[in-house]
Amino acid sequence: MEEKLTTLPGAVSLINDGDVVALQNMATQAAPMALVRELIRQQKRELGLVVLVGGLAVDWLAATGVINHLIGAAVTMEQFGLCQQYRKAVEQGRIKVEELSESLLNARLGAGARNLPFLPSRGAIGTDLIAQNPHNLLMLDDPFGGEPVVACRALVPNVALIHAHRADRFGNIQYEPTAMWPDIAIMPKAAQRIIVSAEEIVDSEVLRRHPEKTILPGFMVDAVVEVPFGAHPTSFYPDYGYDSKFHLDWAAAARDDTAVRNLIERFVLGPENQQQYMDMVGGVETINRIRNWEQPG
């Protein structure tokens, strides 16, 4: 099997300015945050993002000018509120948004994965989403005489970024049983390249003990990197919960550009590796807190 193991800089160097990047992310869950920080460190520009529900990662990428458009169903940090940097960028016209409902996004990605020109959905009929987006969404008559559908044009992201529980050095990717959102179930299958960070790199023999947990075969994966706590500050069930303190600090700062710059400098640009990052965000104290899924209130 072909070697896919590399470093964070090496993995992210596979991404080009202008790429459309599918990002695993559900509000406060399971985002490949170490890969996202590396995107910022490498000063990528004019990226498009594909998200089901983007969270803090989107706010960071908006704050640092990495992205200029977003295709997705929502951007929010759930109980930590809206993503203020993203919101401001959209309001100022710096980020264009192609808003899709979940079924329309799933259909666009499903078509991309299966090399179909489109897949139909019956969701979102009657909303403004469809008339807004004639390039990718068209009403289509049912050839069998039933109700019309929304034809959703195939979406093929250039890259998918995901975080996984474990992988081998050949890019076979395993995931523990958890909420399998479409961002992990269909985005990578639609993308041209797949970059994975994993909590741990293990011997292939470990994967063979549970072949049902393998979600992506090595031949589909372009790069894999070992990054413990690579989803911090988002949660990564069952390993660790989201970091409330970190999210609250960001939410408190995110309307203030200076405060934002300081946080980005401190947590994104400052640490030279994951170990330094984890020390910076609280080290063992934080690790113990998120491992116990302790949340304030």
């Binding site: 559900m26 509000a27 406060t28 869950q29 529900v53 997705g72 169903a73 929502a74 951007v75 929010t76 759930e78 109980q79 809206l82 993203y86 919101r87 959209v90 309001e91 100022q92 016209g93 264009k96 948004v97 808003e99 409902s101 979940e102 079924s103 329309l104 799933n106 959905s121 019956r122 969701g123 979102a124 009929i125 009657g126 909303t127 403004d128 989403l129 807004q132 109700e147 019309p148 049983p177 958890t178 909420a179 399998m180 959102w181 479409p182 179930a185 269909i186 949660s235 069930y237 069952p238 919960g241 989201y242 409330s244 899924w293 949340q295 304030p296 209130g297």
Partner: protein, 272 residues
């Protein structure tokens, strides 16, 4: 867990959050399936309460992930693992949940919060302003709302801040189809289901069967019809008779909410 909730007298002390929970719970019955999404403390409390009282056979799909979970109490997120980790089944979103939802036979009722809701029950969680590409406010986005609104579901809107900002004559952007321009404009697109009720901190509304305009159904105890109308950005239709009072929670319902379902008062986070 059996409690004498049927014979429990009306509570004297309760919050409007608790009344919203009990009002919403009434719509969910045995044999139905309920699911919740993000930041949905009021619906989650309503489902959990319904299962403890009148609807023990209400199926709950927590966070649209976990079937029949048994969280000890409502945690700080209605999307994260503490809510659903102790489940009978984890539903894969792409292959399970969306198949079940789209099928049309299951999960026929959906609870929704919307930044704007108009007199025909159209919902907006996308943008405030005139220009989609330079909005005055970028809202989170439609997520699954646009789907739920167009695939035959009965929709129950909860709104903890009944105001002319949130209940508007016309939404700036339709990110969830209600009755569109009213009358039969929704039916003409072949859409079943639709908005059934709007439960706010002041009142409960439904929709007129023909015109599909929003109609006052009941006002909460202590609230006047005038207060409701003043807080609404369009003219509410009135019911044929006098406007009744929303049934307050019973003592037992309040006890269950406070002691069992939500001792950490997460539901109050849903309130403004």
């Amino acid at each position: 867990m059996t409690t004498d909730w049927r014979n429990s007298p009306p509570a004297e002390n309760y919050g409007v959050d608790e009344l919203m929970v009990t009002a919403l719970a009434e719509y969910f019955q045995d044999g139905e399936q309920a699911c919740n999404g993000m930041a949905s403390f009021i619906p989650v409390a309503a489902f959990m309460l319904a299962r403890l009282t009148h609807a023990p056979e209400l199926v709950w799909i927590a966070s649209s992930v976990g079937l029949e979970p048994r969280p000890e109490r409502i945690p700080a997120s209605t999307l994260e693992a503490p809510l659903w980790r102790d489940s009978i089944m984890y539903l894969d979103q792409y292959t399970d949940f969306w198949n079940f939802v789209l099928n049309g036979r299951w999960i026929t009722k959906f609870c929704v919060g919307a930044a704007q809701l108009d007199q025909y029950g159209n919902a907006n969680n996308s943008i405030i302003g005139e220009d989609y590409h330079h909005p005055r406010v970028r809202l989170p986005g439609t997520a699954g709302l646009a789907d739920m609104c167009s695939i035959g579901k009965d929709l129950y809107y909860w709104n903890p801040d009944h105001s002319p900002r949130s209940l508007v004559e016309k939404v700036d952007y339709i990110s969830g189809a209600g009755y569109l321009d009213g009358g039969n404009t929704r039916e003409q697109l072949g859409l079943g289901g639709g908005p059934r009720a709007v439960i706010t901190n002041l009142a409960v509304m439904d929709f007129h069967p023909q015109s599909k305009r929003m109609r006052l159904q009941s006002v909460h105890p202590g609230v006047t019809v005038e207060q409701v109308q003043d807080a609404t950005g369009f003219e509410l239709l009135m019911p044929g008779t006098d406007v009744p009072e929303t049934r307050p929670p019973s003592c037992e319902q309040v006890r269950l909410i406070r002691e069992i379902v939500d001792p950490n008062d997460m539901r109050k986070r849903g309130m403004n």
